[in-house]
């Protein structure tokens, strides 16, 4: 079997004489997912496949394609008419030549042999999660556990060659007791059985944290957001930090520039491709530019918009190592921790307000203004005098991202590694306390 890099080189060889720029990116994966329903597996899914992505340009005209094939001749065949297509187009507004290769520092420890072993016996790790939730008093659980191995290789006609192999664990569990539920998630490159147990324990803990219900009146509340909620909202903010989102009118950063204040001093958000604990860690981006950790927002000030070479040229700056050929994106996100020692202490600081432990369906009325809403799920809890007094049911945060960032006050010292459906970018996030957040619920 050919390696991913051999496949990339083989495709490159067939194309490089015909274009000014050629980049070939190969991704090979072997993944398994166990999905749980009513405390038992509903399906076990496996993916063993490869994807070849090719970027070519001629006289500033750019074409990219993605093919789910492993045969270099098939790629060549699929691209045989591209020269003619390009000749009829205008140059791309964001064209920049592929960069000359720079030396990159490989990342160590991306493969955990325990993950590879676990792929053949996922059942026993599923049981760890289930048992931990049931031990907390949950009646039933649903969720998924993923183990996988991904190899990525990049070859460009400028001479860049790079290959990385990494493993991944992604787990989330939802625990139910009566009408209440709790949820937790975890994402990493390594198998940590305690982390899987913690997924079950926290899901079970939130499902059983109180049997009481509390009345809710729409209005402004001080809120604690769990790392899942912080992760979901920061995911959207990280996406909007892409230069292409800014250029296309899909970003709250369209109205500001690096150096402008966009939040309170407590807010620091970092793009962290070199954090090898998180699953999108990588030493080089899709153009072969070495990656680096850098702040998007530091102490409330916008520091970096994320670039590939094309968007960087258009905006008169340097690539930040976040290609995406068309759309630069963050790799992994860190939300900086605060000084609060524990979740209990954060609740004491809140004193009166609401804890939202999970959310979904974040949608925007206007990206430029950052006007959005998102719906709570699982435990949304009313706190009075520092005590949890009951579940509020499903409520909604309906506010502006600018308000959330400005009113961000405190965070826990500990962060959690989160990845699930609603947190697509692997994220390390703390619990955060945000003042005066607008919460709503239907009138009828």
């Amino acid at each position: 079997m050919v390696t991913a890099l051999e496949l990339a080189e083989s495709v490159l060889k067939r194309l490089e004489g015909r274009f000014d720029d050629v980049a070939v990116l190969v991704r090979q994966r072997d993944y398994v997912m166990v999905k749980l329903w009513n405390t038992e597996p509903s399906v076990t899914q496996s993916w063993i496949d490869a994807k070849v992505s090719v970027l070519v340009s001629k006289d500033g005209r750019v074409f990219s394609t993605e093919l789910s094939v492993s045969d270099p001749d098939a790629v060549d065949n699929a691209l045989r008419n591209v020269g003619e297509i390009l000749a009829k187009l205008e140059p791309s507004e964001i064209y920049a030549p592929l960069p000359e290769p720079a030396e990159f520092k490989p990342l160590e420890g991306l493969v955990d042999q325990n993950v590879l072993k676990a792929m053949e016996e996922p059942g026993k790790y599923v049981e760890v999660m289930i048992d931990a939730a049931l031990k907390e008093g949950a009646e039933r659980v649903a969720g998924t556990l993923v183990f996988g191995r991904m190899t990525k290789a990049l070859a460009t006609n400028k001479g860049f060659r790079g290959m990385e192999e990494g493993t991944e664990v992604e787990a989330y569990l939802r625990a139910f007791k009566g009408e209440f539920s709790g949820h937790w998630a975890h994402g990493s490159r390594v198998l940590d059985v305690n982390a899987l147990r913690e997924v079950g324990r926290r899901a079970g803990m939130y499902a059983t944290i109180t049997n009481s219900k509390a009345e809710f009146t729409p209005g402004k509340y001080d809120v604690i957001l769990s790392p899942l909620v912080v992760g979901n909202l920061i995911d959207t903010i990280g996406w909007m930090a892409s230069a292409m989102a800014v250029m296309m009118g899909f970003s709250m950063f369209m109205k500001v520039k690096p150096g402008d204040k966009v939040g309170s001093e407590a807010v620091t958000i970092i793009d962290a491709p070199r954090d090898t604990e998180l699953a999108e860690s990588t030493a080089f981006d899709d153009e072969g530019v070495p990656t680096k950790d850098k702040p998007i927002i530091k102490n409330g000030v916008l520091v970096n918009i994320l670039h590939n070479t094309g968007t960087a040229k258009k905006m008169g700056t340097e690539s930040t190592g976040n290609a995406g050929w068309l759309f630069p994106t963050p790799w992994n996100l860190h939300v900086a921790p605060g000084n609060v020692k524990s979740e209990e202490e954060l609740i004491s600081e809140l004193k009166n307000g609401v804890i939202i432990t999970n959310n979904w369906y974040t949608r925007l009325q206007n990206y430029v203004e950052g006007i959005f809403s998102t719906v709570s799920r699982d435990a949304a809890l009313l706190v009075k005098n520092g005590e949890i007094v009951g579940h509020l049911g499903r409520i909604r945060i309906a506010d502006r991202f600018t308000n959330l960032l400005s009113n961000w006050e405190l965070a826990t010292k500990e962060t959690h590694k989160i990845r699930w459906w609603e947190v697509e970018t692997p994220t390390k996030a703390p619990y955060a306390l945000i003042r005066q957040v607008n919460l709503t619920k239907p009138f009828i």
């Binding site: 999905k35 597996p41 509903s42 399906v43 076990t44 899914q45 496996s46 993916w47 063993i48 496949d49 490869a50 074409f63 990219s64 394609t65 993605e66 789910s68 094939v69 492993s70 699929a78 297509i85 009829k88 187009l89 140059p91 791309s92 507004e93 964001i94 059942g123 599923v126 049981e127 039933r140 569990l173 939802r174 139910f176 949820h183 292409m244 250029m247 009118g249 899909f250 369209m254 109205k255 068309l326 369906y361 949608r363 009325q365 206007n366 430029v368 203004e369 809403s373 998102t374 719906v375 499903r394 309906a398 506010d399 502006r400 459906w421 607008n438 709503t440 619920k441 239907p442 009138f443």
Partner: protein, 481 residues
């Protein structure tokens, strides 16, 4: 004529049965997309994607396994078959009850959507020219505001499927689609910005692009939205009659009738992510959710629709389904698994996004049944009300009960006529609150496209949702904070 030899799929099914599967299914799927992206009338990207491979599904020892590969050789397919079987077997001991499928009449069929003009007519050059014209139209339609960003994306999608299973189904289908997406931002120094996205998608050929009259559509929208932006007032604070436009109604029935009537949600299979449903099995055929106007239909067989299919990915023939009928919760969407669990037959709702996705219960084309009134008749006796024509922000909770739609183009209704524009009215309402307050529907059934997300890993499938304009009695609207 299929792109893959049927024999390889049959071989995969036989191999799985030999290895101990009690059910086996092999689905070849090829999705070819191509398109362009422009920003402010300048080309940003031109590209294509081909996803081609085989998805294998087996039941072994009462456990369901799925594996996907794009190595289309016997060696590659065998590896996928064995991965599906061994990994399903490895978790079989955790199952308390075996997974079984309902018995269905399946057979051999082949169908293809006929096109007037081939997809190939929509070249990158043609689509780029269209994007430039549309951007020019947007820029020339505004009077006072600036247009800092226009994004245009358009392309074609060709989907081919060949499904073979151990119960005898052999279903081949070819469905072409055309898609267009426009985003624009209007900006004013004092008023800030207003954003609108417009999406078109349907099954058919290149002829669709002209039929959408995109230049007329964006020209009218931009002119109307500039007025809303500059002159829009807050909606009334007291409860008023609200007319919900078909664009909002379509999304609303998708979210609050389609999703809660998916049997896998009702039974809890999607509980971890997509969520469950306020609908419980004992409510089916009995529970009143709304007035007699609350009839919601799900129909994959609508010609030219975005969610078009005649057989689902388990080989079951498709037909219209009445989710809510005259206000009563009526018929959930089933695949063969949920049908078995609920003692009924599948109504052909199993769809897979691509070869690498397991078939799960999905919507196709969901709409509220229209009436026979004109729009003018619908609003003629409203003294004070609000008409919400379009939206941007929306969401709904995981039980499909508590939902929110924020209007974009909206108007006051005064004495039976549309009056001044309204800015960002918020319809935040429960499912029962909406359906039980419908007091009238007009005759204008319109459909809107969407990509519906569900499943683990996430699968996005093309759908339509639609309805007429709907009148609600005495609703309190919110405003953006």
């Amino acid at each position: 004529m299929t792109s893959l030899d049927e024999g390889l799929l049959q071989w995969a099914v036989d191999k799985a049965l030999e290895a101990g599967a009690s059910y086996a299914e092999a689905r070849y799927q090829r999705d070819v997309t191509s398109g362009v992206i422009l920003r402010n009338a300048r080309t940003v990207g031109v590209g294509s994607e081909v996803r081609e491979g085989i998805g294998i599904r087996v039941i072994v020892n009462g456990s369901l396994g799925f594996a996907a590969t794009n190595t289309l050789t016997r060696e590659g397919v065998e590896r996928a078959v064995m991965a599906a079987i061994t990994r399903a077997r490895a978790t079989a001991s955790l199952r308390k009850t075996p997974i079984e499928f309902s018995d269905e009449r399946v057979g051999r069929a082949s169908y293809e959507v006929a096109v007037k003009r081939p997809l190939g007519d929509l070249t990158a050059e043609t689509l780029t020219e269209l994007g430039k014209r549309l951007t020019e139209t947007i820029n020339s339609s505004v009077k006072e505001v600036k247009v800092p960003a226009v994004m245009f994306q358009a392309g074609t999608r060709l989907q081919e499927k060949l499904v073979i299973n151990s119960d005898g189904a052999v279903i081949h289908s070819v469905v072409p689609r055309v898609t267009a997406f426009i985003n624009f931002v209007l900006a004013h120094p004092q008023k800030g910005t207003l954003q609108r996205t417009i999406e078109k998608e349907a099954s058919g050929g290149a002829e669709l692009i002209d039929s959408w009259r995109l230049e007329d559509v964006v020209s009218e929208e931009v002119r109307n939205l500039e007025k809303v932006f500059l002159e829009g007032v807050e909606p009334p604070k007291e409860p008023v009659d609200v007319v919900v436009g078909s664009e909002v109604v379509g999304l609303l029935v998708h979210e609050s009738a389609g999703h809660p009537m998916e049997a896998d949600r009702i039974l809890g299979r999607e509980a971890a992510q997509a969520g469950e449903s306020f609908v419980k099995p004992d409510m089916i055929g009995k529970y009143r959710i709304g007035t007699e106007y609350a009839t919601v239909i799900e129909d994959p067989t609508i010609p030219g629709s975005n969610g078009y299919y005649l057989f689902d990915d388990e080989g079951v023939p498709a037909r219209p389904r009445y989710l809510y009928k005259e206000g009563i919760i009526y018929e959930p969407l089933h695949n063969r698994h949920t049908a078995k669990l609920m003692g009924t037959s599948s109504n052909a709702a199993a769809r897979a996004m691509d070869y690498a996705s397991e078939p799960i219960i999905r919507m196709s084309n969901t709409y509220l049944k229209p009436g026979d009134m004109s729009f003018e008749e619908l609003i003629e006796d409203i003294k004070l009300g609000v008409f919400i024509k379009s939206y941007m922000e929306w969401n709904i909770d995981d039980m499909r009960w508590n939902q929110r739609y924020v209007g974009l183009e909206a108007y006051m209704i005064r004495n039976g006529e549309l009056a001044e524009p309204v800015r960002n009215p918020v319809l935040e309402i429960t499912t029962k609150g909406f359906y039980s307050n419908i007091v009238g529907v007009d005759k204008h059934l319109r459909f809107y496209p969407g990509t519906c997300g569900k499943g683990e890993p996430p699968q996005g499938v093309p759908v339509w949702f639609g309805g007429p304009d709907v009148r609600l009695a005495k609703i309190r609207l919110g405003v953006i904070a």
